[in-house]
């Protein structure tokens, strides 16, 4: 692939600057803060805890519930508080993306709550939310097979690039957010939005997988940094 430079100075396979911190809240059982580009995401995890919502409980395992929410001041034009169709969908696919990694068999009839708060949005919040949520789940002591990580690739100016910024997302032709379990390479979230040929999709998927691997390393560093013995 050619060595062109993107609008914000990045190479095609370059992530925006990213920073993750584990254990940032007092009350939550686990928490994480993530910045990638202009995104600022805060995640809190509660549980496994007793739940009174009977219909959500399962007799043999614990269940996960996610709530993705955007702060009114996180976007250019103030967003009305509360859930809308977009955030409901993201909440659902985030729970689906995280669930394959969870090992909650020892916690039947319990509930793990994941609250994802977008403090500021600049493109790619769903992947950033999943990445931060995984770190918060580990921080809460939830047993997991792997630490799920999210990253997107997409098509801008007919070129496949990694980790679209807000501007690229708006002007681009396609966006492919994925999440995966890095140890096995299994994909737990995949969406595609826009126009891609089969070849372009293959490129985008491969690029997003590479991006996930890079982000995964930053997740792990954040956790070990927080709890390493001094």
């Amino acid at each position: 692939m050619s060595e062109f430079i993107r609008g914000d100075g990045r190479k095609y396979d370059e992530l925006r600057p990213i920073k993750i911190e584990a254990g940032v809240l007092e009350r939550a059982d686990g928490s994480a803060y993530l910045e990638v580009g202009g995104n600022k995401i805060l995640v809190a995890v509660y549980g496994p805890r007793e739940s009174y919502i009977r219909r959500l409980l399962e007799p043999n395992t614990g269940v996960i519930r996610c709530r993705y929410n955007m702060a009114p001041f996180s976007v250019d034009d103030r967003k009305r508080p509360g859930p809308d169709r977009r955030s409901s969908e993201i909440s659902k696919i985030t729970a689906d993306a995280l669930r394959p990694a969870l090992m909650l068999e020892n916690y039947p009839r319990s509930m793990v709550d994941v609250f994802i708060e977008v403090i500021e949005a600049e493109g790619g919040t769903r992947c950033a939310g999943i990445t931060a949520a995984s770190v918060a789940l580990v921080d809460a002591g939830i047993p997991m097979k792997d630490i799920v990580v999210g990253c997107a690739a997409g098509k801008v100016d007919d070129r496949v690039v990694l980790d679209l910024s807000e501007k690229e997302d708006k002007e681009g032709q396609a966006d492919v957010p994925i999440a995966m379990m890095p140890r096995t390479g299994e994909i737990t979230l995949l969406q595609s939005d826009g126009d891609l040929s089969e070849e372009e999709f293959q490129q985008a998927l491969a690029l997003a997988v590479e991006g996930c691997k890079k982000v995964s390393k930053i997740q792990k560093d954040a956790l070990k940094r927080k709890y390493a013995t001094g």
Partner: protein
Amino acid sequence: MIIFKPLRGVKMIYVENKDLVIPGEVLADDDFYSGRGAFKENGKICSSLMGLVSLRNKKLRVIPLKSKYVPKKGDVVIGKVKDVRFSIWDMDINSPYSGILPAFEVFGREKKELNRVFDVGDVLFLRVVEVDEVKKAKLGLKGRGMGKFRGGIIVDIAPTKVPRLIGKKGSMINMIKDKTQCKIVVGQNGLVWVKGDEDMEQLTKDIIHTIEKEAHTSGLTNKIKERLLLEIDGVLPEEEPEEEPVQDDYVELEKPKLQDFKEELEAEEKKEQEAKFMEKMEEFKNKNSDKSISLDDKPKNSLILK
């Protein structure tokens, strides 16, 4: 018949004892066994938790840094009464699973008004009698020192840090009790009851939280000892260069038998009760000196909070 043991190559292990690991991290190849906090997948032993590696006899475990309490039969726990119902008390045992204390565990067959005995907000020391298939815990008070706490404070720590707070053979907790003169009862569910002088209660709480925070660091017992000496006696400890190395590392500690730690408390209370009883008996005898009533005729108080 001759059994050929398969030839083994180099046993591959990627971590050392006490290493900090995170979920999904590969710990070793197939030659090892997975214990708690670890699982086997595609011929590899992986961690399922964030915690410290414990390797013993080729068995790999991960001791979690944080984890919620799941009730187990035989555990001793501290619980709060959250509701009083027809024939049970609903207990909050600091867990995703609530507990129930059935009235018959307390009264036997006698009928009594439950809220006269334990009411909402009371804190009890309990034993897990049984856990059903959905992890709901049936609780009881049979056992020494079980019952309601009077006075004192409740300190909340991660249940996984309980062994560290106890220390090897009670080394840590006994040291704190000695220096602060506080009574301390530890529940396996991470709740700790402390009673003593007001300031000492607060100091003990601080120290317990320090132990929780630094449970996975080495040299903690000495550090706590220094703090206790400094805060209580106002002196730094004299150098004891031949101090035996502290062995109670976080990953080495076995689950302690916690009921031992309430024995002295309960012995004390028993003495008090006996003294009161004897006093009453004296009164009784004096009043009824002309009648001869045997002790057995006195109605038995079936509810004795030991």
